[in-house]
Subunit: 485 residues, 2 copies
């Protein structure tokens, strides 16, 4: 037996022995203030952590207020649907099945209009199909006598559930009808299982369908009328932003590498570091793009997008952006590698490399403007041409560098700029300029991939019939070859 | 008015004019056999397409028979749960609420054990929490009179639904409790809404919970006892296979580039082309890896994996694999670019490049063996050392090449191998070997990233306590530095 005795100075644990005597277990006195302090500390720590979590969550919402609006919309839709319960005349109509309407709203309401519509259509089609099949199978089973009825029902549930589950593994079905297949299994099981008990099977099916229709209607109205978030617009903005980020990253990357010579302004060096890694967003956006494109197909015309907007073209643009981002990743890797090129060589090549990178990023930025403004660019032909000229110049620079180095073993420009480094320039060992050559080569590869982005954006602009600025129309007539290479 | 008159020879379209006369619209006779033929053709085409779809779906199953087994398991679980309906004594126990058990099975049964467990726990916790809150709110509302009851209930539904929906946007909540938050909203809405009508609120909550428990138990038993698919094992195999694919890709890439000189066997050139692009699987596997790691945490000990197996380490290995795959992508791009290095230079460098690539791929293959067999490798120290030697050799080759070219303007080896190309070798223009230098530089970068994979795998092996082969233990004692660099 253990007994706790609270003395005014502290706590004592006393064990009562079998012979009647008692022994103090903990003689050390723990002042009450210390216990209180520990408890207070624990409580404050918990509060502090919880407050941090709340602040973090709040910032998520502040960064994208559409998320707050979505939450309000979900609450609103649920309040609307619960009206069917609270208002007596409506309650008499749908009865206890109003539950299905609540369930539909919770299960079907998604962040974007497209996703909600997709789920609504899936739910209705899945329910109808499974309901009809369930009633049919139930009729067949009821004709075959009391003994075989459960067996036939069991086998049908087993077979159809297995087939519908398997269909969810097929990519084309999974992309569009994954939720529908689940609802099919659910409804078929419910109808054929409860059909065995509930006599009024048709009434059940009818009630379930009508409540689901009420739920889906409320969802569609709420999602489309109050600050709608269109999957199509989200995809459009995502691709536009990713294009911009890629251009910024490329600029940041090169500024980081050649920055020591060109931009002496060290105070501005921290900001680009953050931008430099923004290409990583492009690397991991494939899944988001695909799901948005998938949902966008279900959406009606909105903003500048018609019903048959070529959403698949956005995926192609996204793929070409990613292909360019892989190269920027490799470029970033070779820039940060241990092997460093001597500054004299870097100075020689920096203007060519920087010219190529800035013209590439100019092309990418122009493409992001094309996407963001949904206006065809006529300037793009000129700046792609300029980028190709920059590629040629860099190639010529490499050529002349090797010719000069093999002819005189010194580079005139380098001698002028750096007289002390005469020994180094006397033998421009290949191994020393390997990092530079790699950067140059990757830049050329990036330029080639930038052209592929331009082609993808051009194809998108043609298929989506982006408008042409009126003052630029005449220019385009003079340059009919605009991006038709 | 249009009238169709079927004559024995064919079909005629006749328009009745306003003045009473009639005009034959289509005078061309369409023989009945042709209509039948067209219908038959359409029907056959449909059947052909449908058959193709079925075959494709069947192949998906054949390639991964676990998908067939999963379908059978879903059917089985549904049959088991419907037993509650068909057997009268059980039916009396749970009554009409057995529907919830069916619903639970359909909603909760997932492909992997981890995903099923995660959803089961989420469903139970969400239901309990929301049920308790719902009953509490309902009691408060009922105390405040008939007039305020629906208003309080509406406000509580709105607020809690909004907060729970917002929590789904927080990454840490989304990763673990996304489904739970949805179930929370659903249950709370149902309880507080139907609490207004159904008098026996506690009985409803109790029934719902017990049927959900039945459903989740059936799911857990079915998913764990019949051919379980563990998310942990899937993740382990995925990472192991991806590692292997990366090694094959690297080999294929270099064989493709230097193949003309080294492997004259053209018949074997098609097979590597397919393997060459297998690194693309690694590029896009991030989302799968993350969700598998997320589900694996819920799984009990199975196979060689304990409950606290360091699943996060697999994500680190996956990230390092992807980082290497980006480089292989860039390498592949520069290999397929228009700029080609002259064969004489290629022949000079091929042996160094091939040595480095094969030693890198050897390291990656050894790492895949480490993962697949869950056995620490002692050889890895030696082959990483060998890879680093190969890097040094390649660097020396680049150095000696530039020294030779600046000293004598000819490369002795090249003169021997290619006497006719004397003019070309006289001036080994830098621009000509740019593609080669890029390939060499990227190979060195790949070697650096391979070492990072080795570090990640080593950290995994240490944390997961992979076993050491008994005959290799003594070797490791001699080389205590094994991968502790």
């Amino acid at each position: 037996m253990v007994k706790e005795s609270a003395v005014s100075e502290g706590l004592q644990w006393r064990i009562n022995m079998q012979d009647g005597s008692s022994k103090i277990l903990v003689s050390e006195s723990v002042p009450r203030t210390r216990v209180c302090g520990a408890l207070q500390g624990f409580f404050m720590g918990f509060l502090f952590n919880f407050w941090g979590f709340i602040l973090k969550a709040w910032n998520i919402g502040l960064n994208d207020p559409k998320k707050f609006i979505h939450c309000i919309k979900v609450g609103l839709a649920l309040c609307l649907v619960s009206v069917f319960y609270y208002m007596r005349p409506l309650y008499r109509g749908v009865g206890g099945n109003a539950m299905w309407a609540v369930m539909t709203v919770v299960a079907v309401f998604e962040y974007t209009v497209g996703a909600t519509l997709c789920k609504c259509v899936n739910r209705v089609i899945g329910t109808c199909l499974a309901g009809a099949l369930g009633v049919g199978v139930h009729w067949i089973a009821s004709q075959s006598g009391k003994r075989f009825e459960p067996i036939i029902l069991q086998i049908s549930v087993f077979l159809l559930a297995a087939v519908a589950t398997f269909s969810r593994f097929i990519p084309s079905v999974k992309a569009r009808f994954d939720y529908g297949a689940m609802i099919f299994i659910l409804t078929f099981s419910l109808v054929s299982v409860s059909g065995y008990r509930v006599e009024k099977l048709f009434e059940l099916a009818h009630h379930r369908l009508s409540t689901i229709m009420i739920g889906t209607s409320i969802c569609i109205i709420t999602t489309m009328l109050f600050f709608p978030v269109w999957a199509g617009s989200e995809l459009h903005n995502l691709i536009g932003n990713n294009t911009e980020k890629l251009a910024d990253s490329l600029d940041g990357c090169l500024a980081d590498y050649f920055g020591n010579d060109e931009n002496a302004d060290n105070t501005k060096k921290e900001a680009p570091k953050k931008i430099l890694l923004s290409y990583k967003c492009v690397l991991g956006s494939k899944v988001t793009e695909e799901s948005l494109a998938n949902f966008a197909r279900w959406e009606p015309a909105h903003g500048g997008f018609n019903f048959g907007h070529p959403w698949k073209e956005y995926l192609k643009v996204g793929a070409s952006l990613r292909s360019c981002a892989y190269c920027i990743e490799a470029l970033n890797g070779s820039i940060n590698s241990d092997a460093k090129a001597p500054d004299v060589f870097k100075a020689h090549f920096s203007k060519f490399c920087l010219r190529l990178s800035s013209s590439s990023s100019l092309v990418i930025k122009e493409l992001s403007t094309v996407i963001n403004t949904m206006t065809k660019s006529t300037k793009i032909y000129l700046i792609v041409q300029e980028m190709n000229n920059a590629v040629e110049e860099l190639q010529n620079a490499l050529k002349s560098f090797s010719e000069q180095s093999t002819a005189s073993l010194t580079v005139p420009e380098l001698e002028e700029s750096d007289n002390g480094a005469g020994d180094t320039t006397a033998s421009p060992a290949l191994v020393q300029i390997v990092p530079l050559v790699t950067v140059a080569s990757l830049l050329m590869e990036i330029a080639a991939r930038t052209e592929r982005i331009a082609e993808a954006v051009n194809s998108l602009a043609n298929k989506a019939e982006f408008k042409v600025k009126s003052d630029e129309k005449s220019m385009q007539l003079q340059n009919p070859k605009v991006l038709t290479r």
